[in-house]
């Protein structure tokens, strides 16, 4: 099927489909004036619209200045290809050369994927160098996720492809070696578009879940021919420290409904992950969103309506998780065509009956992001990657969503800029994409938000279909005289010995005053994009924070007392913390060789090196 034919089919289906989600979108589109012209806003009298307008007008927080500098940074890379590559387009950000700065691995679709080594100076312009090692320069890559599978301290890479998925074992200095064979991993021949991983209890290696899209070989493809997903549990090993991972016995997760994102999540605060999958209604028949129970390593079982799971039918593209109210029960942003969902758990049902029942709060909180907020194109948006992070360090989570027409779908916006929804103090979100600089005319797909230049400000990389990646450097907060500093921040990395070196599944509780924020270390979600490294937390005006860690086995650490604006490494079973400083001279100016003398001098810094 060529691109135009596909687009025509999609368009027709969009027009004929009559679901709650579609109605929502249509209604929203009809009455929403959130980003209409001033004239339209003035004429609109609906209470919701008034609130929405007021929300935008009233935004008083910091707006990050995001400067797109991919080309100047040395990155020239696009995601392209025929309709198999209308979806996907992921990116991994992780440190592959042990300098603790995130490097970038970009999917290329039909073209080669690329590994770019981070050469940025602290707080300086972003700078990357394409790796000369072509081991990872693979074709047909849709996305990737980093994690340390074999617990050797190096990040490995899971590469999703149209065709055989590949595991690569990471080594020092960004050296990777194929690991499918040595780890008994069958990469199959599916069209894979989603991934997540979790260290299940008592297993030395992570369980890998792979989401598949359309089965192109099935009769009638692509309609109603979604392929089953896969669960790769590691074999139980007795000599854990010496035996490599063994993924020789995968399980199908059937039915599959054309997954475009999946995420292991502790939805009910039980300490046991379930697998949340968002599916693309475009191709499934009788499908819906899914939540798989995996309790205790048992055979996976889907939550059904009898257990409180309410069917939700959307063009699911990406999942982002955050615990917005720090109650331990995560909320989920689900991107789609039209309105984004923001699912909030009915905690009472969860506690009393273990029922995963959710309410959508996107509209109430101004997070629907259902059509472009600027320009003349009033058609619904197409959302892909979603990620909660604190872009302005005000201690409130923001939501970044990549947007972009699938290819040439006429009923959806052509000019569809990425969203930057900044969290506000009343719990809602305020769209500041235009003001921040992310409103480019590109078709976004996967993305990753991380701090590339170790200045405490989060930067963004976005993979665009048919265009160069967008690399947004966060230059500070918009001020009357140029960028100015934002709120305080912390970046925290967790380390433990043995299995699960990076403490995937751990939860951070960060307290400043009475304000508590939580973060959970996860692998998965987004849109075909993952990241590893420091967890970033904005602290607002807090210059100190008390941090506790709930390690993956559920054990809580003692509180750590941390000063803001530092990189911190917390090692399990160690009472004290370790600081980390990037290799740069911009942090402090080294004074002249003759420091101020004093009659009380007991000598300047005395070296007792090497101990």
């Amino acid at each position: 099927m060529n691109a135009l034919a596909y687009a025509a089919c999609v368009t027709l289906l969009c027009l004929l489909t009559s679901t709650a989600a579609a109605q929502d979108t249509a209604q929203d589109t009809a009455h929403d004036t959130s980003l209409d012209t001033a004239q339209n806003i003035a004429h609109d009298t609906s209470p919701v619209t008034s609130q929405d307008t007021a929300r935008k007008a009233a935004y008083t927080g910091d707006i990050p200045v995001l400067i797109e500098e991919a080309q100047a940074a040395g990155i020239q890379h696009r995601y392209a290809g025929p309709w198999e590559y209308f979806v996907g387009g992921g990116v991994s950000t992780f440190d592959c050369n042990q300098d603790r700065l995130p490097d970038i691995y970009l999917a290329g679709g039909q073209a080669e994927a690329g590994l770019f080594i981070n050469r940025s100076r602290t707080a300086g312009p972003l700078q990357f160098e394409r790796s000369a090692d072509t081991t990872l320069s693979l074709e047909r890559v849709t996305g990737s996720y980093p994690l340390d599978i074999d617990n050797d301290g190096f990040q490995d890479l899971v590469i999703l492809r149209v065709g055989e998925n590949l595991l690569f074992r990471g080594g020092p200095d960004c050296r990777f070696s194929p690991a499918n064979l040595s780890w008994n991993f069958d990469g199959g021949n599916a069209w894979s578009t989603a991934f997540s991983a979790s260290f299940e209890a008592d297993r030395h290696f992570p369980t890998l879940a792979i989401g598949n899209y359309v089965d192109r070989s099935a009769p009638g493809s692509p309609w109603g021919t979604c392929r089953a997903n896969e669960l790769h549990r590691p074999a139980d090993t007795t000599e854990r420290s010496t035996v490599p991972p063994d993924y020789s016995d995968p399980l199908p997760l059937s039915p599959g409904y054309c997954a475009l994102s999946m995420l292991f999540t502790d939805w009910n605060k039980s300490g046991v992950d379930a697998l949340r999958i968002t599916n693309d209604r475009q191709y499934y028949r009788g499908g819906q969103e899914q939540l798989w129970q995996l309790d205790g390593g048992r055979y996976p079982r889907l939550f059904g309506s009898a257990e409180g799971w309410q069917p939700l039918v959307i063009w699911g593209m990406g999942i982002a998780e955050a615990d917005l109210d720090a109650d331990g029960y995560p909320e989920y942003a689900l991107t789609s065509m039209g309105d984004t969902k923001l699912q909030v758990l009915d905690v009472r049902q969860a506690i009393e009956e273990n029922r995963p029942s959710y309410e959508d709060m996107a509209w109430n909180r101004g997070a629907t992001a259902h059509r472009p907020y600027t320009g003349d194109d009033l058609k619904p948006s197409t959302g892909w990657h979603a990620q909660f992070e604190d872009m302005n360090n005000d201690a409130l989570l923001d939501l970044f969503i990549t947007k972009g027409n699938v290819e040439s779908m006429n009923d959806f916006a052509r000019f569809d800029p990425d969203n930057l929804l900044l969290g506000t103090f009343d719990g809602s979100f305020s769209e500041q994409g235009l003001q921040s600089g992310v409103a480019l005319n590109r078709r976004g797909r996967g993305a990753s938000i991380t701090d590339f230049n170790a200045d405490g400000l989060l930067d963004i990389v976005v993979v665009n279909r048919g265009d160069n990646v967008s690399l947004f450097r966060n230059a500070g907060m918009a001020g009357p005289e140029g960028p100015r500093p934002g709120g305080n921040w912390l970046k925290i990395a967790l380390v433990q010995n043995g299995a699960n070196r990076n403490a995937i599944g751990a939860r951070l509780s960060v307290k400043t005053g009475n304000h508590v924020q939580t973060r959970r270390l996860q692998v998965g979600g987004g849109h075909a994009s993952g990241s590893a490294g420091f967890v970033h937390i904005g602290l607002g005006v807090g210059e100190r924070a008390t941090v506790r860690v709930q390690w993956p086995d559920g054990q809580w650490s003692a509180p750590f007392k941390l000063f803001a604006n530092h990189h911190i490494i917390i090692e399990r079973d160690r009472d004290t913390l370790i600081q980390w400083f990037p290799n740069a001279t911009t942090q402090e100016t080294v004074p002249a060789a003759n420091p101020v003398s004093s009659p009380h001098t007991h000598g300047v810094a005395k070296h007792v090196s090497g101990n």
Binding site: T60, G479, R484, T512, V541, T576, V596, P599, V604
Partner: protein, 508 residues
């Protein structure tokens, strides 16, 4: 009228919180006080808010207006390098604000905000505007900082009850489980103290940077002894990959920011402390911390008045405090006192008191940048707006500062800007608090600078020791050896040491 006036005069020359008069008398009291204090505030009015009190013919504020702040200092008027005229003008505004007895029309009161330094809402409105425990506990900065003169220390009667302000925010008990009771510090020489702290922080951080650089070059771990201006701050261990183990750091926070203010040494700058105190003691909320940028509201405390203190107001208050002359060592006229003081100074050294109460610290520059280089978000930082720099050398007292052989200013603070354990099992009275403060344990305090000590009784962080003898006796912990040496002195030697301490005065 007479009763009101008497009330004013009786209580340190300023209206005290307990001085309640009938409603009609408030206006009269204001009139009289305004007259007494020679118009503390400027006379320009904000016609938007002062209409009711505007002079019918000129539109300027009527003399009877019940406000202490008639106009806010515009930070943009004081940008860049300030000359002497601009500096003096800023200082004068700061002096007025320091003495201003804020009213509810200025924004005094924080019905829906706590005293916390991180903007924190109350769950319900406070039961009373004023409370000697949880605050508001003062009308003006000068209500407490007035011994021996405005800007000085405070009597036990004006102790403050320091609580983080996150839990039990309405505590109405002096029970130490709710707050730490603290005596008011003097502010003389505060600008120099902040400059010293900045330079020492820069030195410490540069040492860390050098250690990291060496570790990276050699590929080996590097442990260094940290010191700044001769004061030791323990050790740190740098790894070749950029990691630092701060476990060995002593007397300063792990971020190596030397925070010189408060008994505990937990405030970075005059600016930060000023913002905290304005909220805590007066319910006057500075826009740069409590404004819409960080709280989503211009009126965070919900008292009906937005943006109560401008960035310029804070700058003015900082300038006034930073410009206060350092205390001095006076030369008694009485020759017996002279001789005793000379001997007492020697005993001070012999007992090892000078190990922490360093006679002076060298300061390279008198250039005072406000905002300073070390503050974090919530206190204005450089690059946010209205950066100002002024030289304390413009002030008359600067000429009296001595210099060492390297040309550095000798700042005779008799302190080391370092925290120490000050109590032990036997000598425990200075470890009498139950609450740690901002990560600093309860028996650890910043070395009190002795300059001005003769003018600022009572002593101890609670102000519950009435004599110098008592406070010396109370030194335990790291100061135990010196205290024991003092106890081993003859009565004459002790007397001589006191004689010398009595020469360290604030002479306005």
């Amino acid at each position: 009228m007479k009763s009101t006036a008497a009330c004013l005069i009786t209580l340190t020359g300023l209206i005290a919180p307990t001085c309640i008069v009938p409603g009609w008398q408030v206006l009269a009291a204001e009139l009289e006080t305004n007259s007494q204090t020679n118009s503390q505030t400027a006379t320009t009015a904000d016609p938007e808010t002062d209409t009711a009190a505007a002079h019918p013919s000129t539109g300027t504020a009527a003399p009877w207006i019940e406000k202490a702040v008639l106009h806010h200092v515009e930070a943009n008027d004081f940008r860049g390098q300030l000359d002497k005229q601009a500096l003096l003008q800023l200082i004068d505004s700061g002096k007025q604000l320091f003495n201003a007895r804020f009213t509810r029309l200025d924004g005094a009161g924080r019905p829906m905000a706590t005293q916390a330094i991180i903007p924190t809402k109350r769950k319900r409105a406070s039961r009373s505007v004023f409370s000697r425990t949880a605050g508001l506990d003062a009308n003006a900065c000068a209500s407490c900082h007035n011994v021996p003169v405005v800007g000085g220390a405070g009597d036990f009667a004006v102790n403050v009850f320091v609580s983080e302000g996150f839990e039990h925010t309405d505590f109405d008990s002096t029970d130490p489980q709710f707050s730490n009771e603290r005596n008011t510090n003097h502010l003389f020489g505060a600008g120099l103290v902040e400059l010293l702290a900045r330079e020492m922080t820069r030195e410490l951080r540069a040492e860390r940077t050098r250690a990291l650089a060496e570790a990276r070059i050699t590929g080996e771990r590097v442990r260094i002894a940290l010191s700044a201006k001769g004061v030791d701050y323990g050790t740190l261990l740098a790894y070749p990959d950029g990691r630092v183990d701060p476990t060995g750091i002593e007397g300063v926070d792990h971020d190596l920011v030397l925070r010189p203010f408060t008994h505990k040494g937990v405030m970075t700058s005059l600016r930060q402390f000023t913002i905290n105190a304005l909220n805590h003691h007066h319910g006057m909320q500075a826009e740069e911390r409590f404004g819409a940028r960080w709280t989503g509201q211009a009126d965070h405390d919900e008292d009906g008045l937005p943006n109560e203190i401008s960035a310029g107001d804070v700058s003015a208050l900082v300038a006034w405090q930073a410009s206060l002359a350092p205390p001095s060592e006076k030369h008694p006229v009485d020759t017996r006192w002279q001789d005793a003081a000379i001997a007492g100074r020697r005993h001070f050294d012999d007992a090892g008191c000078n190990a922490c109460h360093l006679p002076y610290l060298p300061l390279t520059s008198l250039e005072f940048a406000d905002p300073g280089p070390l503050d974090a978000a919530g206190t204005l930082r450089r690059g946010e707006a209205s950066d100002a720099v002024y030289s304390l050398e413009l002030l008359d007292w600067a000429a009296r500062l001595k210099r060492d052989e390297n040309g550095h200013y000798k700042i005779p603070l008799f302190g080391d800007l370092k925290r120490h354990v000050i109590a032990d099992r036997q000598i425990a009275s200075l470890g009498n608090e139950l609450l740690s403060q901002r990560f600093v344990q309860r028996n650890v305090f910043m070395t009190t600078e002795l300059w001005g000590v003769a003018s600022t009784a009572p002593y101890g962080h609670r102000g519950d020791l009435t004599t110098l003898t008592d406070i010396i006796d109370a030194h335990g912990g790291e100061a135990r050896a010196s205290r024991d040496a003092w106890k081993a002195m003859t009565a004459l030697q002790q007397n001589q040491l006191i004689a010398w301490l009595k020469t360290l005065v604030i002479e306005p």
